[in-house]
């Protein structure tokens, strides 16, 4: 699966309407169409780092959409290596900038905008948590790199040998890296082949989006995350007493 270039990928997703999406400093903002209806687009590309300024620009576009295009679905594309470890950004409150972006997305959700994410490239750790994982429904292209981190990186940090992690990942998909194991955990709704009819899939995804967070239930059903839903439900039952 060759990774398509950003412009050609936008074309594959949004057809001719892709020209309404600007790419600046590897940040995507704009408006396009899906299934003949207007959508708002925010995102990252080229595996870029995302810092305070990037988070603000994406947030500004979400606010613009809420103000000027009520109830227009927001499609988030994710191809980012996450936050660049940087002292100045940290000092100024990178976490708060991300928190603000999430608040803006929440505001959009409450105001009736559907939120759909497509992981198109890197969707690793913090890059995914700071906006993409906050959608109503999350999808990934089969060429995307989705997950906390590759097994080699996990091994380097935890000092657990790669073969041990690899063997365990066969029965514990949480340890495996990629869109498909992530889907087994319920983290993405579906994995889309890059050469499939993406506009049709996107239109269907928007039409079917719902605000309930179904990930724990999906993870249990698919067998990749067997405990989360039950533990959560036990807390809900115990707290009722």
């Amino acid at each position: 699966m060759k990774k398509p270039s950003q412009r050609s990928l936008l074309g594959k997703l949004f057809g001719a309407s892709a020209k309404g999406v600007a790419i600046e400093d590897s940040l995507l903002t704009g408006y396009a169409q899906a299934g003949g209806k207007d959508i708002c687009v925010i995102g990252t590309c080229s595996g870029t780092y995302i810092g305070n300024a990037a988070a603000l620009r994406l947030a500004a576009h979400v606010i613009d959409c809420i103000e000027r295009h009520p109830r227009t679905p927001i499609v988030m594309l994710v191809d980012s290596a996450g936050q660049e470890p940087n002292r100045a950004d940290e000092m100024l409150g990178l976490a708060s900038y991300f928190g603000h972006l999430l608040s803006c997305l929440e505001l959009a959700r409450r105001k009736g905008h559907k939120l759909i994410t497509i992981a198109t490239g890197k969707a690793v750790g913090g890059a995914f948590i700071c906006y993409g994982m906050f959608a109503d429904r999350i999808y990934a292209l089969d060429s995307a790199s989705v997950g906390l981190m590759p097994i080699e990186a996990m091994s380097a940090v935890t000092k657990i040998p790669v073969p041990v992690l690899r063997k365990l990942s066969k029965t514990m998909p949480a340890l495996e890296f990629g869109a498909r194991p992530f889907a087994l955990l319920g983290g993405v709704e579906d994995v889309w082949p890059t050469d499939s009819d993406l506009p049709a899939k996107l239109a269907a995804a928007i039409a079917g989006a719902a605000v309930d967070d179904n990930r724990a239930a999906l993870g249990k059903k698919r067998g990749g995350r067997k405990l989360a839903l039950d533990v959560r439900n036990r807390v809900l039952a115990e707290s009722r007493r």
Partner: protein, 293 residues
């Protein structure tokens, strides 16, 4: 009260007891339930009976609250599948019951040994926090230890209505060692404690407005700050989002080129840097307020 014991020196369970009405804490899924991590067990790493987070209900000044406290000593307080599901469940219960929810954060973020399961759990908990906020149910993050709130838990803390910090607490995403590895020791010496705390510590976060209260490193002070916030909420509205956008833009414009935290402190009203560095949380608040006049 716990006399001279500092908040950051207490265990998670002691903290919960110390900030709630005496004897009122009731734990959900307590240790005898033996909800231990199958991931750690498979990897040959010791498990803990609460999986590193204590959750339950209690009263603060007679008012019902739900509480969670992460156990920093256990795998760095990191969030795995069970740990995260306990947090998600607690915030969901809070929004269902209209009961304020307090989380004492002490965590480096996602538990690497559980891979993407912990990452998704943090995202789910964020959704649950915003469910509370939509119902005007107060959510409060307390950050008061060396381990602080980092990675996904740093971001999660900023999703809550309010943050209470002590001068000991730290809030961020990438920790100093990671940044030093990336930028080099010259740019960020992670062994320089003063610089590390001025970058991510409670004082700087309070000056910037990212911490809503800066209090003594003592359970009594933390409890008092929580008590004041329990009746308030910070709703997610267009007006608030636009104001915050402006505020954060201004902050970036004003300080984006500054790498020196002392410049930041001075610009935000701290006149005597040396004195402010040594000040306790509340003393620092007084100094900063005086300087802004």
């Amino acid at each position: 009260m716990t006399g001279g014991v500092l908040f950051h020196e207490q265990t998670a369970r002691q903290r919960l007891d110390a900030i709630t009405d005496q004897g009122s804490f009731v734990e959900f899924l307590p240790p005898p339930e033996r909800l231990t991590s199958p991931y750690l067990a498979q990897l040959g790493i010791p498990v803990s009976l609460d999986d590193g987070v204590v959750i339950g209900r209690a009263r603060i000044d007679g008012k019902k609250v739900y509480l969670a406290a992460q156990v920093g000593q256990f795998v760095g307080g990191a969030v795995g599948e069970i740990h995260g599901a306990k947090l998600t469940g607690l915030f969901k219960a809070a929004s269902r019951d209209g009961v304020p929810c307090v989380v004492i954060v002490e965590s480096g973020g996602v538990r690497l040994h559980e891979g993407s399961a912990g990452e998704i759990a943090i995202a789910e908990t964020m959704r649950a926090i915003f469910e509370c906020r939509a119902r005007k149910v107060p959510t409060i993050a307390v950050i008061g230890t060396d381990i602080g709130a980092y990675g996904g838990m740093g971001i999660l803390s900023t999703c809550c209505d309010f943050r209470v910090m002590t001068e000991h607490g730290r809030l961020g995403i990438s920790g100093p060692i990671v940044i030093e590895k990336w930028m080099g020791k010259k740019a960020y010496d992670s062994s320089n404690r003063a610089l590390v705390w001025k970058t991510s510590g409670g004082k700087t976060k309070y000056l910037l407005g990212d911490a809503d209260a800066l209090v003594h490193d003592a359970a009594g002070a933390v409890r008092e700050a929580i008590g004041k916030l329990l009746t308030r909420s910070s709703p997610v509205t267009l007006k608030n989002a636009k104001a915050r956008q402006k505020d954060l833009e201004k902050r970036l414009k004003r300080f984006g080129k500054t790498a020196d935290p002392d410049d930041l402190w001075k610009s935000l009203g701290v006149r005597d840097i040396a004195r402010a560095s040594l000040a306790s949380g509340p003393e620092f608040v007084t100094l900063a307020r005086a300087g802004r006049k």
